[in-house]
Amino acid sequence: MTSYSNGGFFNPAYHDNETLEIDKRYPRKNNHTNPYAREAPSWQGSGAETHNGSVGRTTGGDDSLARMPWGGWEEESQRGRESIPMGLISTRHHDRNHSAFQINPDSQYDRSRIGQLPSSISANMTMRWRGMTMRSMSMFPDADPARLAFTEDAIRNEMENEEQNQVKELVALSTRDRIHAIRSLPTSFAEKKHIRSQVLKSAKKSRKNAHLADFSENVSLFFRRCGYSVRSARQTLQLWHGIMKEIGGKFGTSVLSYFVFLKWLLMFNIFSFLVNFGFITIPLLVYDPTPNIPPNVSFRGLELLTGAGYFRYTVMYYGGYSNKILVGLVDYNMQLAYFFTITLYMVLCGVALLYSMASSFQTNYVLAAPASSGAWQLLCSWDFSVTNERAVRQRKNNLRVQLQESLSEKAQRERLTLSVKLKQFGVYLGSWLLSTGLAVGCGASIFYLCQYEEQRTTDAPSWTLLQEAETLLLPFVVSLMNLVIPLFYSLFNKFELYSSQRKQVYALVVRNVLLRGSILGVLCYYWMNVVPEKFSCWESVVGQSLYRLVIFDFLFLMLGSFFGEFLSKVLGTTLLPRLGVPEFDIARNVLELIYAQTLAWIGIYFSPLLPAIQILKFFILFYLKKVSLTHNCQPPRRTGRAAQMQTTFIALLFFPFFVGAVSMVAFTAWRLTPSKHCGPFRGLSNTFIVVEVWIAELAAKPGSVWVVWIYQHVIESELFYFMLVLIVLVVIYMFWQVIQGRKQLIVLLKQQIVNEGKDKAFLLEKLQNLQKSRPNKILKQKTPKKHTKQRSGNVSAGGQSTSNAMLQALFARQQLEDEEGRRGNGGVPVPSDISTSSALVQAMMARQRAEDQEEDTHMSDTDFSSPSAFTQASQARQRAEVEAWDEHNGAADYHENAANTSSAVMLVMQARQRAEDEDRTQWVPAHPQNPVPAGSSALIQAMLARQQAQNEFDDGY
């Protein structure tokens, strides 16, 4: 927009003619040009129509637009009436002041809009709102009240129309979509509220039965209010809102993501606790509230740490559950309940994880640009939630350092020589070997420790205090390893110089996962293979081990934040200021959480109430970490992609850890023999037999044949799974192919954008060249005007109008060209569509006026078809041409024959318009004396070409 207005301001005629300014102003509201026109061409078409309609509607503006040049012409013609007799023009002029060419704006407008409604509602409604509302928001940034008043009616009409259409589209939606759409409107609240009330009103009207409408509205209002109160209630229940805000304000989103993750895990555990407690423990407790504990076992206090002893006989572990059918109000089969609860829980966990992983993958990884890009750092990286003054200062510093680094990065990258590269490679190799070796070593040492422990413990019903304390050795060592080894890994990381922080973090994460994987793998092997051989109630023993691990993990997490964060802060602030205050290591902390959760998942079968411990643990951990964070840490220096890290964490949680836990539990359930004397599955050869027994029972009952059938033909049949796998594979292959196709499409589209950009640059260059040659002409036309002004006012008016007309046309054309360029380059920016429409409307108005003028010319042709007029006209035209193309003579000519000249230019205009008309009507010879020579003139040719281009352009979009 700016460039155009600048162009316009150079030209005094532009200022004299207020209509142009109306043009500029007007389209801001009547513009319906959809910036995403390619998505829905039908919409674009109607947009063009609307322009027509709106031109008709602004009769106020249009009249003055016409009056200006014609007024000039009238005065002009008084001077040279005998040479160019066009007396009728004045009457024509009066005519058209009233209703000469008014298109009935409303009817056309509405028809076109309604016609296109059904097809394009869903596709581009939001887009349009966006375009429209952007426009209406920037409608009067620099409004001139006088101008405003001038077009006020038109604007109001237009806005009402716009609104009605919007309302219509909204009414067509369902209530839920409607509210969502209203909320997403980028307008002010007052407008939204207005639209909402309109929508409600017309939704009511559209119902046939008034009572029914009232009723249904009340119902929908009721449900909406219910929904809102549920949302409110949920917000009230939302934990730690204030703390979250504080952390986000001080440390930014990336650190906050750790706490969000922690909270998510906590919710997960609350859910699993509720499921397990509700379906397994409560029925048992209702049936038999006292645990059957051997008389010589009592609570000694150490159980809280070891989980053994007294706890061994409670509902904490597998062993505490009975295998009976609980007879009460309803018969409750404990075996089935245990089996199905655990299975269902695992399945639900898997689904929830998969779902959150997939959705976060979709939003965070698809099409993500590299994090180091300057554009991203500048425009997207600022964290608006940071409100702490120190944090803001630090962030600004960090950003500055990062920007400086990224500027020097390119130079550095090129300087790397082969020897440096080799050295780097050596460092990588060394640290990977070392870290993998450490992980394997830890696994091996745990294995030997397990064997040692196996020798020390006995399968007695109760252990001595010392025996019980000895069991703490294994979890202690495991947790110590988990605490210390990652510190070594972080140390290695300091020596390796990764090119990006992301690689560094991923390397760290992979090593930690390897470590924990190897430790857990060895432990699982021990539990699966050694423990069942030795212990009579082995599930409970495994459960106890897991309990101990969970507890020790918690203790070491506390120690870790004490040593890792508090001590290094003390060190950093007092002893070694070089180290500085530690940063909060998100990756390490999240991995600790993942590990803790994995323990809980593995333990779910052996110790159904383990989630309760986990809830307590996470709850305390949240406060602990929060305190440690606010007192000891500084925000991370590099703000990586928090969202992507989050996705990675969920993926990690799912893939090695959850899948590992599930496979372990599944192995236990399908392959291992449950202990003979305790637990719900005692006496069975494996856990899954429970289902077979149940099915066999069901087969005896007549009503449940279909369950048996499903079991036999679906669950047990290999063929079914074979087919399922085959179908899944085929579907995956198809989707993979689609993805490949999309990738190609993306490449092509990107190429297209680049090409369009080039086109645009080319067009702009052409335009600039044109402009270079134009100003001379404009100047030249200006100079004689000054002279004529001194001589006679009439002539000056004529000259002015001439230049008005010419410049308007030129102006419109320039804008159009530019618009074409801009429009070509793919997604047209929403804000700029204002100018698009203004160019279009200008062109339209120019054309309208041309048509109108053309009518007048016909009149004059028929009435005064004397050859002298035509010779005059052609002479004048030639003179005009001379003026237009010959600069030296032009000024003189103009000076001498100012009157004739201006009329000549007018004639040229008329001729051009006629030519245009001819062009449109396929050269049907309407008038025998048509001044065809006009067509031969170079100027007219040019104009014609332009017109055609414009038409084509209009058709094209």
């Binding site: 940034p141 609240f189 986000g248 554009a375 500048l378 600004k396 928090a642 969202a643 204002i834």
Partner: protein, 187 residues
């Protein structure tokens, strides 16, 4: 709870809930925040939509905005007069767009407005320089500023007009997944 009825009518609250991303409770909380900015100006009774606007200077003093380098731009972008005077409705609008629930497209539109300092509907170099200076405390040398801005335009400008249109900006936003969480002010 008795307080609730005197500030807004149920219909008003319904309208707020339908038109913004806030619940009734949050609207009331927002009103409390708005009220506390200027207790003598803002009425406690909003049942008949009183005309009341708070100037920019008061609003940017909120702790949520006070340290934000773009605080004035944020408030200006949401004020109807462009000068930063906010009525309560505009105040709600502002935090609605900046809330967690607001969709990416909506956020992008307003983020673009905020970064568009000279309101010409393009992010030109001048805008980017201003942004950069706000983000780095003006500690970069002019050459560095120049380089960073050029690099930014080069990376994000799809159509090669050496300024960023809304389409360019939106495209960039769509590739920056963190934007949703970072363009977010908790209230």
């Amino acid at each position: 709870m008795g307080n609730k009825q005197t500030i807004f009518t149920d219909e008003q609250l319904d309208a707020y809930q339908d038109c913004t991303f806030f619940t009734r409770k949050e609207i009331l909380r927002l009103h409390a925040r708005y009220h506390e900015l200027a207790p003598h100006l803002v009425p406690m009774d909003y049942t008949n939509d009183p005309e009341c606007k708070l100037p920019l200077a008061l609003i940017v003093n909120m702790p949520e905005l006070n340290e934000n380098p773009f605080r004035s731009r944020i408030v200006e972008s949401f004020s109807e007069d462009g000068m930063g005077n906010l009525s309560f409705n505009e105040f709600v609008d502002m935090f609605s767009v900046l809330s967690e629930m607001a969709p990416r497209e909506l956020k992008a539109i307003y983020a673009f407005k905020i970064y568009d300092f000279n309101v010409d509907n393009y992010l030109c170099k001048e805008d980017l320089e201003k942004t950069l200076n706000k983000l780095t405390k003006e500690e970069l040398t002019p050459e560095e500023v120049e380089l960073v801005c050029e690099k930014t335009i080069e990376e994000a400008d799809l159509d090669g007009d050496h300024k960023l249109s809304f389409a360019d900006f939106e495209n960039m936003i769509s590739r920056a997944p963190d934007f949703l969480s970072t363009f977010h002010i908790r209230i």
